[in-house]
Every structure is written in C-alpha cells, then in structure tokens.
C-alpha cells in the first residue's frame, strides 16, 4: 500500500496541473478531490477511472481482481470504438468468493491470468486491483510479476482500488501504470518526423476517426493514442513520438508531463471540439513537429487544409444559424470540455444560459469568461432539483449534459442531448461540430415537444 499512497501523493502534487499550481503545500497534501460526502456523493471510484482510461486499449485482456460487483455490474458499458480487436470488450474478472476473502485471492488471480493467456493469447494482460482484494492484502504487483515471468508476457498491475479516491484520480493512476510498466518497453518498426501521440482521447463513438483522416492527409502519423483504439504495441513504443497533444487535461496530464520529462516529447493542451479549437490543434501539432525537425512546408499544408475545412464547415453550419440563433442552452458537463463546446455553440448563435465549472481549473474559468462575458453564469454545483426547475420554468430551451441528468430534463419535458460518454454521435473534428448542431436542431425541433406538453384532456380547465 505504501507505494500506492506515494503514487497518490505524487499525483496530488502534479506540477503540470493548473489547479495544483494555485495551491499551498498543505492543500496539495490534502489531495485534489473534495472529501466525499456520505449520502450526498455521486460519481465513480478510482478503479472506474483507471478502467475508463485504459480499457480503450483494444487488444489486451482487462482482468478485474475483485468481487462480481466491480466488473459484473459494469462491463462493456462504454462506447470506445476499435478498428481491430474486440478483446477489450470481453469482461474478465476473478469474481472472488468468500473463501478467497478468507484465504486470500492471489492463487485465483494467478490461475486466472494463466486461463486468460491460454484461451485468448493477448499481447498483454492488465490486472486491476479493487477494494476487497486490497483489504485482504492480495499483492497484485507480486502476482503480476510472477505471472509475467512464468508466461513470458507483460502482465501489468493497475493498483487502483476504488476506495483510494474518485474517478479522476483513477484516470491518473491508470496513466501511472502505463508509465511504470508499458511505455518505452517496445520499439516501433519505423519512425518518421511526423509521429505524434494523442493523450487522453478515448475514441468514444469513434471520435478519433473524425480527426485521423485529416492527420493522414497531412502525412502526420498517430504513433499512439492513449488510449482510444490503441494497440498494446503502439502504447509500448509511444516514447518515440516527436510531439504530443493532450486532449483531456484532467485525466492524463501526468502522462504528458512525464513523457516530456523522460523522453523529451513536447506537448500542448488542445481540443478537437469546436471549429476554431480544432484548427488551433492542427496548427499546434504541425508547429511542434516542425520545431522537432519536420520539414517546414508542413505548416503551409496545414494552413491550406484548415482553410479548406473551415470554409466547408462554416458553409454547413450557416444553414443552421437561422434555426438555432438565440436558442438558450444549459450546458452541464464534466467541466473540461465546457469552453470548447461553448465556443462551438456560439458559432451558430446559441446563447449559453449557464455552464457547469465544477471540475474546471481557474484558467478554464477565465476562458469561459472570455467567451461568455463577465456575467457568465457559471454553475459550481447544481442539484438535480434546481436543474429541473430551471428547465421546467423554461429558462433554457435545451440541456446538454451527461446521462446522469438525462431524466431531469426529459421529465421536465425539455429537449436534452447527451454530450458525455454514452452519446451515440461523434462530435469531434469539423464534421463533428456539424453533427452536434444537427443533433441539437433535431432535438429542439422534434414535433413531440408540443404533443407531450399538452395537458391530458381531464386536466383541461372547462
């Protein structure tokens, strides 16, 4: 446990994190997450976070060491897409029994790793620690080491029992497992001056594929995406990239920063959401690659591509402007994406009547202010009841949020769109913005609203 608590402390003092930089020594020691309130908490645990961060690696087996609740209740429930193997969607768990709790679960874990390798022969097995097996003292690191030696395959311990903290901490601990055991252990077949890593992109509903064709066109190769649609070998050899883009800062900043430190891979923080953010990200990728020695003509080609794509996308977005201009949006997301989505919606003339900033850093908030003006309605924490009232009283025309608050909007008979992990449409890239706006348009103008809001005949006053 001591190594785990050291790792947790290290993440709490991550120098790359904007939030951390604003904290005193003491505040940092106390950790990032607010202390969870029993009876008033929501959200996933550290194990959940680690799984979210690593499960998009498609060709490895993800084996959960714990009771059935951890995997049985949650497997195959995200839409990270794969262009190849589907092994990552197979649920593997030791499903420990009471006997294991009494006598220890290490033997079962070892045998499980063997079974997985014999039956499925993946390039690596990722083993996730959970609360119960941590409590009974199962040493996953030792078991993984023994199994790796015995079976001649990487067996990666992911030591993130749920009770060490919240989902976000788990994202980072998952990243640490890659840094400690995977990255730098293999070599790419070839390298090019155009090799990049994309860090913190999970390829949910295939979003990476909205972006990859553009990079392909520029001759830029994604050496590894961490971790969307990634193969083990790509992650293991990702240390040879020339530059990196960090997509979801709160989730994997430790990977980006440590790869810069260890392998001198410069990175920038960018977003694929919103037209200008998308262009900016392409520019920065090209810029970093040129800095690292790629031919300078890449910049010009990148600008040409941006001009072409922007002209095309503006043309398509314009056709929505008339229908969407002035519509009021309540935007409740994890926070990091707030500002990029805000910009995109403003591009078609929509008005953001409120946005959540629960997980946003100071800089994120500054950026939102810049975009939305000084009187931007930033919501730190909104109870479902308040959201319901706001929608019911028609202070917004549509809510964009994650699945958790879906029914708050729908029960208020208000349009709603999923912009979190359970969404069914890809919103990244230039085309993604058109898709987002198209979905908003469909939601707002669906003919059901008028019907469902009409009172039942027996409720009509006579």
């Amino acid at each position: 446990m001591s190594t785990l608590s050291n790792e947790v402390q290290e993440i709490f003092s991550e120098p790359g994190c904007d939030k951390n930089r604003g904290k005193s020594q003491k505040e940092r020691k106390e950790g990032c997450a607010k202390r969870l309130q029993p009876g008033a908490a929501a959200g996933g645990c550290a194990f959940d976070g680690a799984k979210i961060a690593l499960q998009p690696i498609t060709d490895v087996a993800h084996l959960v060491h714990g009771p059935i609740g951890c995997e049985g209740n949650s497997w195959d429930n995200r839409h990270a897409a794969s262009s190849g193997s589907h092994l990552y969607r197979t649920g593997f768990t030791t499903d420990i029994t009471e006997m294991d709790v009494v006598y220890g679960g290490e033997k079962r874990l070892f045998r499980s790793i063997r079974e997985v390798i014999e039956k499925y022969n993946p390039p690596a097995v990722f083993v996730y620690q959970t609360c119960v097996t941590a409590m009974i003292g199962d040493d996953v690191e030792a078991v993984c080491k023994a199994a790796a030696t015995k079976f001649g395959k990487p067996v990666i311990p992911v030591n993130t029992p749920g009770f060490v903290g919240a989902k976000n901490l788990g994202n980072k601990l998952g990243g640490e497992a890659l840094l400690d055991y995977v990255i730098g252990t293999e070599e790419p077949e070839i390298t090019t001056p155009y090799d990049i890593n994309i860090i913190g992109e999970y390829n949910l509903v295939g979003e990476l594929w909205q972006v990859k064709p553009l990079l392909d066109e520029l001759g830029i190769r994604i050496l590894a995406c961490l971790s969307g649609d990634a193969k083990y070998h790509e992650v293991a050899s990702s240390h040879r990239a020339r530059a990196a883009m960090m997509v979801c800062s709160k989730a994997m900043i430790n990977i980006a920063r440590k790869m810069e430190e260890r392998y001198e891979i410069p990175f920038f923080e960018g977003s694929f959401y919103g037209v200008s953010d998308m262009s900016d990200s392409l520019r920065q990728i090209a810029g970093l690659l040129v800095q690292r020695g790629a031919p300078e003509e890449l910049l010009e080609r990148t600008e040409a591509l941006i001009r072409r794509e922007e002209a095309h996308v503006w043309g398509r977005l314009q056709s929505y402007q008339q229908r969407l201009s002035g519509k009021r949006v309540l935007l409740i997301t994890g926070g990091v994406k707030s500002w990029s989505v805000v910009a995109a919606l403003q591009e078609v003339g929509m008005v953001i009547v409120g946005t959540s900033v629960k997980k946003s850093s100071k800089e994120d908030k500054e950026r939102i202010k810049e975009l939305m003006g000084e009187d931007a309605h930033m919501i730190e924490d909104m109870t479902p009841r308040e959201m319901y009232r706001m929608l019911k009283d028609a202070h917004a025309d549509i809510m964009l949020s994650g699945g958790r608050s879906q029914f708050v909007a729908l029960k208020a008979k208000m349009p709603w769109l999923d912009i979190n992990q359970e969404r069914h449409h890809a919103y990244a890239g230039y085309e993604g913005m058109v898709a987002l706006v198209e979905q908003i348009d469909r939601a707002l103008y669906n003919p059901i609203w008028e019907q469902v809001r009409r009172p039942a005949p027996w409720d009509l006053q006579t």
Binding site: A42, G43, I68, S74, R89, V132, F163, Y388, K411
Partner: protein, 453 residues
C-alpha cells in the same frame, strides 16, 4: 432432471451475474419515498446506478456511504451516520434502505449495532424507517440480494394484526418480474375483487411515468403504511422461488399463509392462478381472462410448428431461467444450454441435461449450433460471434427500449411471448434451395445400371 454443475474456471469471462447489493437496492427502489444506500465505496453505487438507469431509462435514486481506505479500516459507523443524516435532511425519505457491500463486509462492520447507536443519538430520525441488509458482493448474486432484502423489509416493518381483511391479498413478486408484469398481475388479482398490496412494487416507481414534480427519492412503489399492513392480508401470493424466504418470514410474524407460484409463464400455471383466485373470492373467472386463455390456446396451436425441436440456449438468473425454460419446453422446444448465476432448488428440476452456474463464456461454448439465444443484453457479443438469433430477457437490457414493459406472465403475456419468439424462429427459417434435401448415404446406388452377375 438436470445435473447442476459449477464452472471450474478461476476466471469469470463475460459475466452473466450481477452483484447482491444492487439486487437489494432494486428491491428498495420498489418502495415509495425510499432512498437506497450502498454501504461501500462510491464506485459500488455508481456502477449499480448506471446499470439500472440504462435498463429502466429512469433516474435512479441510489446513494453511497462513500467509504475511503481510512474509514474502511476504522469502521464505517461515522459514514453511515453522516449518510443517514444527509439523506434525511436533503431528500426527506420515509424509508432508508442500506445494503452492505464486499468492502464493508470484509472489514466486518456491525451495521445493526451502528444503527442502534445512531438512533439513540438522533431522536429526530424516529420518523424514518431504516432497513439494513447484509449483501456482500463476493457471495451469491443479484437475485439473492432482492430475495434477502424483501425478507428483511418484511421482518423489520410488517406488524402482526388480530384480524384479517377478507379482500386483502399480498403480492410478492420476484425480481424477474418487470413493472409490466406486476401491473398485469395486480390487474388480474383486482379483477376478482381483491385489494392487493404489492411488495416491492416496481410498477409504481420504475414503470416510466412523468411525475408532476422532481423528487430525490423514489416516487411511487409500496407505501410504508401498506408494508406495515401486510399482516392483515388473508393470503400472500408470491411469484418466484426466491420469494419463499420472505413468505415464510411474513407467515411466521403475522400468520398470513402463502401460495408460491414458481412461475406464471405458460398455460397450466395461469390456470392454477385463476383457480386459486376464483376459489378465494367465490367469484367466477372474469370473461376477459376466459377470452385471453382461449387466445393463448390458439396462439399455441398456431405457433407450435415453429417451436418444435428448436434448440435454445438460455443464460438467466434461476427464477427467470425456470420460468422461460419450463415454458419453452412446454412449447416443444429443447433447452440445449442453460447457464445461471446462483443456487436454487429449481435448477435440478429443469428439463435440461445440465445447468451450469457460470458465465456467458460457458454459455457461448454450449450455444454453438442452437437456434436461439435468450439472455440479458450482454449476450449481444456472443450472438454476433455465433450468428444466433437473440431475444433479450432479464436485467440489464440496455440496448432496447421498453425493458420495463416486457410482459412475460399471465395468459396475455404468454400469448405475446409465443408470438415474439415464434416470429424470431419464423424470420430465421432456412431458405429453400435445390440443395435442401438432406444428403444421406443410401445403401443402393442407382446412378449407374446394376451390373449383371
């Protein structure tokens, strides 16, 4: 008679099973103005929440004691106390239902003891009922969590009465009955003039309705007063072997006898239900159900062609497996592969050679060559790999609409199942081609003239 075997693997692959605590939480979700709480890490609740939200497509009130590493080691009393107070102050529920998890059971928290102390410290909590159930994740399964929780609710909240009400009947549905089934059963019982109490009543809380205002607790479900009043019923009708424990607790505590139907899918079992209700009420079976029975008989006549000899692979919790499996056998189909999650006395009685307590990998190995796969939505990957027609049954069904209203009981529900599954067979019947005739080696070859001796 089936041989019941346990998968001998160390590693579960593609779990069929879900954990006890959320089975328990689901039972609490069938009570009105209730807030279920899992005593564990916040992830235990988050996973269960997402699972139930995706199945019911409803907001799910479910809280957590948010145990951390330190509080687990120190014991969870303080977290339980804070959770109860926070929920009491914010959500104002009538009932708080607490299920333990693997984490807090491993530590060995004495939650019953904690609750006594908490009640002594906080007299203001007197108005709220608090029910605690022990449901470690590392034992048993979802169905057991439901079963134990209903038994605990009965044990802790019902009250014995001196007199019984002639028209009052308790209905105790197993967790394989969805809101649509419960609605159907209530309607049947009411049509004989009874005034039933359904416990737990998911049809009140999770049937997908649009309330007039927002509620942080369950809205609809069995009212606390009705739970207390269960002892005044003349009879309990339970559906599913998993409800036997609750029936017996209720009988011991309040002298209410019970009649347990191990399933209500099929013709004969519904005849028994109608017979029982007619006899209890002294009323004839309403003409509506006579007509529905006739429709079911006709559906069986029309449909049996397509069921006969079909090989079916089923993965389901014991009571659902029993209900659907037995009925399919009654339609002439053959259960070729059966996998379940936990023990039940019904398993060995199933009309199948072997029942495996295992996972979907076990089912996938046995389902090769079957005509139909029936399991929850996680069967989608194996259905694709084996190219099997697939009917989703059980929880979770997260990739289809209307899971809460899937109807599988009563004459009407059985009739619709004949159609639903029969149509899958019809849609997948083989094309006729010039090669359709089976090639069998014949003894006499007539392709060349027989040679003279």
């Amino acid at each position: 008679m089936a041989a019941v075997t346990r998968s001998r693997k160390s590693c579960t692959v593609n779990p069929l099973k879900m954990s006890q605590p959320i089975g328990g939480a689901l039972a609490f979700l069938g009570l009105n103005h209730c807030m279920p709480v899992l005593h564990g890490s916040q992830g235990c609740t988050a996973f269960g929440l997402v699972l139930l939200v995706r199945h019911f497509r409803e907001a799910i009130p479910l809280q957590t004691t948010a145990m951390s590493e330190a509080t687990t080691i120190m014991g969870g009393m303080e977290n339980i106390e804070q959770a109860i107070l926070n929920i009491f102050n914010r959500a104002k529920p009538e009932i708080i239902g607490i299920c333990s998890t693997g984490l807090t059971e491993t530590k060995g928290d004495d939650v019953d003891g904690y609750l006594k102390l908490i009640r002594a410290r906080h007299p203001e909590l007197e108005s709220v009922a608090i029910v605690y159930v022990s449901t470690p994740d590392y034992k048993e399964a979802f169905q057991d969590g439901w079963s134990k929780t209903v038994a605990r609710i009965v044990e802790q909240l019902t009250e014995p009465t001196a007199t019984k009400l002639a028209n009052r009947i308790n209905i105790l549905p197993g967790n394989h009955l969805m809101p649509g089934d419960i609605e159907e059963l209530r309607e049947i019982v009411e049509s004989f003039g009874f005034d039933p109490i359904v416990l737990p009543d998911l049809s009140g809380s999770l049937d997908g309705h649009v309330p007039d205002d927002f509620s942080p607790t369950t809205l609809g479900g069995t009212a606390l007063n009705d739970i207390r009043g269960c002892g005044a019923s003349r009879l309990t009708i339970a559906v599913g072997e998993q409800m036997r424990a609750a029936c017996e607790v209720l009988q011991a505590k309040t002298d209410v006898p019970y009649e347990l139907f191990d399933r209500l899918t099929g013709l004969e079992v519904n005849d028994r239900l109608m017979g029982l209700l007619a006899q209890l009420s002294g009323r004839p079976v309403p003409s509506k159900y006579r007509r529905q029975r006739s429709q079911l008989v006709d559906a069986m006549l029309d449909g049996h062609f397509f069921f006969g000899g079909k090989k079916i692979a089923i993965g389901a919790e014991p009571d659902l497996l029993w209900g659907i499996g037995s009925w399919l056998a009654e339609m002439g189909a053959e259960i070729s592969a059966a996998v379940t999650t936990t023990d039940s006395p019904l398993l060995e009685k199933l009309p199948v050679e072997e029942v495996v307590i295992g996972d979907l990998e076990d089912l996938e190995m046995r389902a090769v060559g079957c005509d139909l796969l029936i399991t929850h939505a996680h069967g989608r990957q194996m259905a694709e790999r084996l190219d099997l027609p697939f009917v989703r049954m059980g929880l979770p069904t997260f990739d289809r609409l209307g899971a809460a209203h899937q109807l599988t009981i009563g004459y009407r529900g059985t009739r619709d199942l004949v159609f639903e599954i029969g149509n899958v067979f019809l849609a997948n019947s083989p094309d006729h081609t010039p090669d359709t005739r089976a090639r069998v080696e014949r003894e006499i070859d007539v392709r060349t003239p027989a040679t003279a001796h």
